[in-house]
């Protein structure tokens, strides 16, 4: 499996539709403090099913919806699409696709939607899909800012997650 592209609309500081295409190998994301780099990592974590607002640096899940700026009004919807290619090892119903598009939406009303290839699904379907594709349920492959040193500073019992995920 590979990440092909990420689309964000109304997600945190990305108020207009923004697309990032990924190659194989290494993609670097750069920019000044506060410009929105960590928001991209939050977007990937969110579309893959993250349920904790705190883990997305917010107080409630609505905090991911564009909240306005000096010159723009808040939006009513946040949407993120993540397109994956070369997805092998998937259960039959997805096997015939070469690309899989995962979508998550949240309306200010609190209503949320998940879709795979534009077909509404449940969070569980996205979770199962990612497990089959080799991305663990707890999304350990996404290392947040300031998280690296915390692994060393945490208590010995709290370091088990790395080993359990692999087991």
């Amino acid at each position: 499996m590979q990440l092909k592209s990420l689309n964000m609309l109304g997600f945190k500081s990305f108020f207009e539709k923004t697309t990032l295409n990924f190659q194989g190998g290494v993609t670097a994301v750069v920019g000044p403090n506060g410009c929105g780099k960590s928001n991209i990592s939050d977007a990937i974590r969110w579309v893959l099913g993250e349920q904790s607002a705190k883990h997305l640096r917010g107080d409630k899940m609505e905090d991911v919806i564009f909240n306005g700026s000096e010159s723009r009004k808040p939006l009513g919807l946040a949407e993120v699409n993540l397109t994956l290619t070369n997805v092998s090892g998937l259960p039959s119903e997805f096997g015939q696709y070469n690309e899989i598009e995962i979508t998550r939406r949240l309306y200010r009303s609190g209503e949320s939607e998940y879709l795979i290839n534009k077909i509404p699904c449940r969070l569980k379907d996205i979770r199962d899909l990612m497990m089959d594709a080799g991305v663990g349920a707890k999304l350990h492959a996404i290392i947040e800012q300031d998280r690296v040193k915390k692994i060393i500073e945490s208590k010995p019992e709290d370091r088990r997650f790395l080993f359990e995920e692999v087991a």
């Binding site: 990440l3 190998g25 993609t27 080799g134 492959a141 800012q145 500073e153 010995p156 080993f163």
Partner: protein, 156 residues
């Protein structure tokens, strides 16, 4: 599932020694199960001994040494069970220039197996990437994506 955990612990332990040795260009590292009789609950101690130094508790490691040790552990788990992609948000922030080089060399090698997306302020890491996305907030509060420099463009 004691066997499962024990096998993954041993595999990660082996890789951790290897990766630590590469990142620190020497030195020794170990993982210790604090309560081996109770594998499914036991805490895990990390022993890290940079080249030429005495073994001390990891709390007396420097900021950069702690970060590099944690990166060695993360990459060890990653090598045992590769994920299709990995996203790192300024993991290189505490590292000096020569440790950034060792960090990026390892990522380059692992990138043949998995896709890496790295958020960074370090030029050493930018130079190693195949593609570079710039994010800007020219209009305050609103993020936009600017230039994308691909490897061949960077080579030009």
């Amino acid at each position: 599932t004691i066997e499962l955990f024990t096998r993954s612990f041993n595999d990660i332990h082996e890789k951790f020694k290897e990766v630590f040795n590469r990142l620190f260009e020497g030195g020794r590292a170990e993982l210790v199960l604090l309560d081996p009789a109770n594998v499914l609950e036991s805490g895990i101690e990390i022993i890290a001994q940079p080249r030429g130094k005495k073994v001390q508790s990891i709390t007396s490691l420097s900021g950069g040494e702690k970060a590099l040790t944690a990166i060695a552990l993360l990459f060890a788990a990653f090598l045992v069970k590769p994920s299709p992609f990995c996203m790192l948000d300024e993991a290189d922030a505490p590292l000096d220039a020569s440790n950034v080089m060792r960090f990026t060399r390892l990522i380059r090698e692992m990138s043949s197996m998995s896709q890496f997306i790295v958020i960074t302020h370090k030029t050493g890491t930018m130079e190693m990437a195949d593609a570079l996305y710039g994010i800007t907030m020219d209009e305050p509060g609103c993020s936009k994506v600017v230039s994308v420099k691909l490897r061949e463009a960077a080579m030009a």
